[in-house]
Symmetry: none
Subunit: 216 residues, 4 copies
DNA sequence: CATGAATGAGCCTTCATTCAT
DNA sequence: CATGAATGAAGGCTCATTCAT
C-alpha cells in the first residue's frame, strides 16, 4: 500500500516509526498555528523533542515533513471512518450514519484538515497525486454506500450523480472546518449534520427520472 | 466601500490604479504557479513590468500584494455576478440562472480562486476579516434569491436551511476549481452545473415540511 | 573665508540662501532626534518644506547637508561668542566672562553641538579639516585672552600651557552638553561654570614657575 | 557582573567567548576605519573569520556587535586601570600615577575609545545606560583617590568639586584621543600628562577655601 | 545514532539619487 | 525652478541543509 516512502538515514524501523510519530505530532501543532512555510525546521525538531541534526536523519527535505503529516492525517480520518462505518451494510440508514460519523470526525480534526487543505499545494509534484489518491478512496467509500442503496432499491441515482453526491458529502464535511468562521456561528454540529443529510437524501429517495442518465 | 488599506507612497491616484493593476496581474500568475510564499518580491516586480523599488512605492509589505490580489478577485467575481443576475427577480428560474452564471465565473477564474483559497491564510489578522466579509456578501446574494423564491411561493425552505443552501452553492462553485483534478475529468461544466442545480432544487420544490423549522 | 562650497544647480544666490536655511533647520532637528545616518533625504526634504527633487537642486549628496549643518553650527557659536566677548580687553575678568559666556552658548546649543560631535566623523575627508579649522579658531579666541592676561601681568603661563588651557576650556564647554547625563544632575550651569573657572584660574594666578617652560 | 545582554543561539559558552572575541576584534578595526553605520554585517563576519550565518549565531542584531564592542572596550580600560592603580593608597603621588597611567591606556586604546565615543549613540535605549554606568564607575575611581587625598590632609576639596575634577580628568584622557588632530601635534604624551597633572593639582594643594563648599 | 555549529544562498526592504515633466 | 515617480544597488537577517564530532 505504501507508495512513495520518505527515505531515512537511520535503519532501525522501530526507531523510524517512533521518531516520525514525534515529528508529525510536533509539526501538526506548529502548522496549525503558523502554517507550513512560516514554520522552521528547527522549530519542528524542537517540538518533536530532538535536535535539528536528528530531524534530518529521518527526512531528506522539509517538504517530507509535510508529506508525512498529510499522509498521517488522511490515514487517521480513513481509519476512523472505516472503524465507524466499515461493516455497515448499504442502506439509507447506514448512509445517514456514515455522513454523521464523517462529519463528527471532521469536527474533531478540523485543525488538521485545515492544515492539509491550506498546505497540500506545497507538496512536491510527486507527492501530491499520492495524497489525492487517498482522498479519492474516501470519496469512494460514500459512493459505494450510495451504490448499495441503489442496488437495494432504496434510492435511484445514476452513477454520475452518485459520484457527484459523494464529492458533495466529502466537501461538506470539510466545509464544516474550513468555513467554521461562518458555519459554526450559525449551526451546531448536529443541526448542520441534519440539514445536510436532509439535503442529500430528499432529492434522491423517490425520483425515478434520476436513473435515466445513469450510465457507464 | 473602497480599499481601506494598503497606503502608497505615490500620490497620483490614477497611477496607483494603473500600477496596481499591473501588479495584481503579474502577481496572480506567479501565485498560481508557485504560491505566495515561493514567489519573491523581485519576481512580482518583474512580472509587473517595473523595478523592485517601484513595487515598494505602491505597497508597504509583500503581504499587501496578497491582500490586493484577494481584494481584486472578490471584486471581479462579485461584479460579474451582479452584472449577470443583478436585476433578475427572484424565482427558481433566476436561481438556476444565477447558479449557472456563478459556476461559469468560477470556471473562468478558477486559477484566481484557487490562489485565494490556498493563500488567504497568509493574510494578516487585520485583512482576513475584510476579505471574509466580501465572501459573505456573495453568499448572501444566493440567500436573497432563495428568500424571494420562498416569498413568491415557489419554494418552502426555512431561514437556516436557506442560509446553508446558499453556502452549499457557493462552495460547489469553488469545488469546481479546487477539486478540478477529480471533477473536471468526470463532468463537463454543463453537466456539473445541471447536476448540482438538480440536487439543490429537487429537495426544495415540493416539501412543505421544510418550513416547520423556518425560524427567525 | 568660504573654503569649500557645496555647489547648487540653482543660480539665484538669494534662493540658495533661503532654501539652505530651511534645510539646515529641518536637518538639525532630525539629526538631533535620530542621527545623520538614520535620517533619510526624504525626511530632510519634508522637514525643510520642499520636495526631494528640490533638495537635490541645492546639494549634490546627502553628506553635503551634514557639512552645511556643521558649518552653520560653528558659525552660530562663533558669532555668539564674538558678539559677547569680542571687544573685551584681555584681563582675567574678561576671561571669566568669556568662559561663562561660552558655557552659556554651549548650554543653549547643546543639541546642535551633540549632533556635531557625533556626526562629524561622517564628513568626507575633504570637509573635515575645514570644520576642524573652525574649531581651532574658537580655541584660539581663548588662547588670545590668556595671552593678554600674561602680557598685562595678571597671569604667568607659558605658551604651551596656554594652548592646553584653551583646549581644556573649550572641551569643558562641550562636556556640559555631551556629558549632560552625568553633569547636569550634579550641577546647575552656574555651579558648573564657577567651579570650572575656579579650576582654571587657581593654578595660574600666582605661580611664576609656570613661566619657566613658557617658550616660543 | 557579566554580560546581561546579547543572547546567542549557540550553547557552548567557550565557543561563544571565542567567537565573540574574534568578532569584537574584527569589528573594532572596521568601526575605526568607517564607523558603525558604514560597516556591513557581512564585513564584520568576514573580518571575524566566519560566515554571515555564523555571525548571527552569536548575536541577534547588528547593534549587538556595537554593544559587545563597547562593553569590551570599557572592560579593557577598567581592567588595565584596576591593575595599574588598584592597590595604591590614596595620596597625591598615587593620583599622579593614576592619571598618568590612565592617559597611557587612553593613548594605547585611542582608536577603540574614539569608536566608542562616536558610535555609542547608536546603542539602543536599553543598552546605553548600562554602558554609561560603566563609565561612571571609572570616574568614581578618580573620585575615590581624590577623597583619600582629602582624608589624609593632602588636599582640601569639597565633594562637588572632587566629582567635577574626576570628570575633568576622565575627559582629559579621552581628549588626548578624540582631539588628537590638535593635541598630538602640540605635545608628546608625557608633556600632555605633566601639564594636565599640574593643572589639576596646582589649584588644589593649598587652598583651604575650597572646603567651604564641601557639602554632602 | 545524536548533536548542534557552520554555511551561504537568497529573501524582503530601504533609500540615495536621477530625470522627465 | 519644482516636483515626485522610478530605479536598483546594497543591507540586515533567516533558515534549510550539511557534516565533523
Amino acid at each position: 500500500m505504501r507508495k512513495q516512502n520518505v527515505p531515512a538515514s537511520v535503519k532501525d524501523e522501530r526507531l523510524i516509526e517512533l521518531r516520525r510519530n514525534q515529528m508529525i505530532k510536533g509539526a501538526v501543532s506548529l502548522f496549525k498555528e503558523k502554517g507550513f512555510h512560516r514554520t522552521t525546521t528547527r522549530e519542528i525538531a524542537k517540538a518533536s523533542g530532538f535536535s535539528i541534526g536528528t530531524l534530518y536523519e529521518y527526512i531528506r527535505k522539509k517538504e517530507d515533513v509535510l508529506y508525512l503529516v498529510c499522509d498521517r492525517i488522511y490515514d487517521q480520518v480513513r481509519d476512523r471512518l472505516k472503524k465507524d462505518i466499515g461493516t455497515k451494510c448499504g442502506n439509507t440508514e447506514s448512509l445517514k450514519y456514515a455522513i454523521s460519523s464523517y462529519f463528527k470526525v471532521m469536527d474533531e480534526m478540523q485543525d488538521e484538515v485545515l492544515v492539509m487543505y491550506q498546505e497540500a499545494k506545497s507538496l512536491s509534484k510527486e507527492d501530491l497525486p499520492y495524497v489525492l489518491k487517498k482522498e479519492l478512496e474516501m470519496v469512494e467509500m460514500f459512493e459505494e454506500i450510495l451504490t448499495s442503496c441503489v442496488e437495494n432499491g432504496e434510492l435511484s441515482v445514476g452513477l454520475k450523480e452518485r459520484k457527484l453526491i459523494a464529492h458533495n458529502i466529502f466537501v461538506q464535511g470539510q466545509m464544516w472546518g474550513f468555513r467554521r468562521w461562518a458555519l459554526q456561528r450559525l449551526y451546531t454540529l448536529e443541526e448542520y449534520t441534519d440539514l445536510q443529510i436532509q439535503n442529500v437524501l430528499e432529492g434522491l429517495s423517490k425520483n425515478p427520472q434520476n436513473l435515466k442518465e445513469g450510465n457507464e
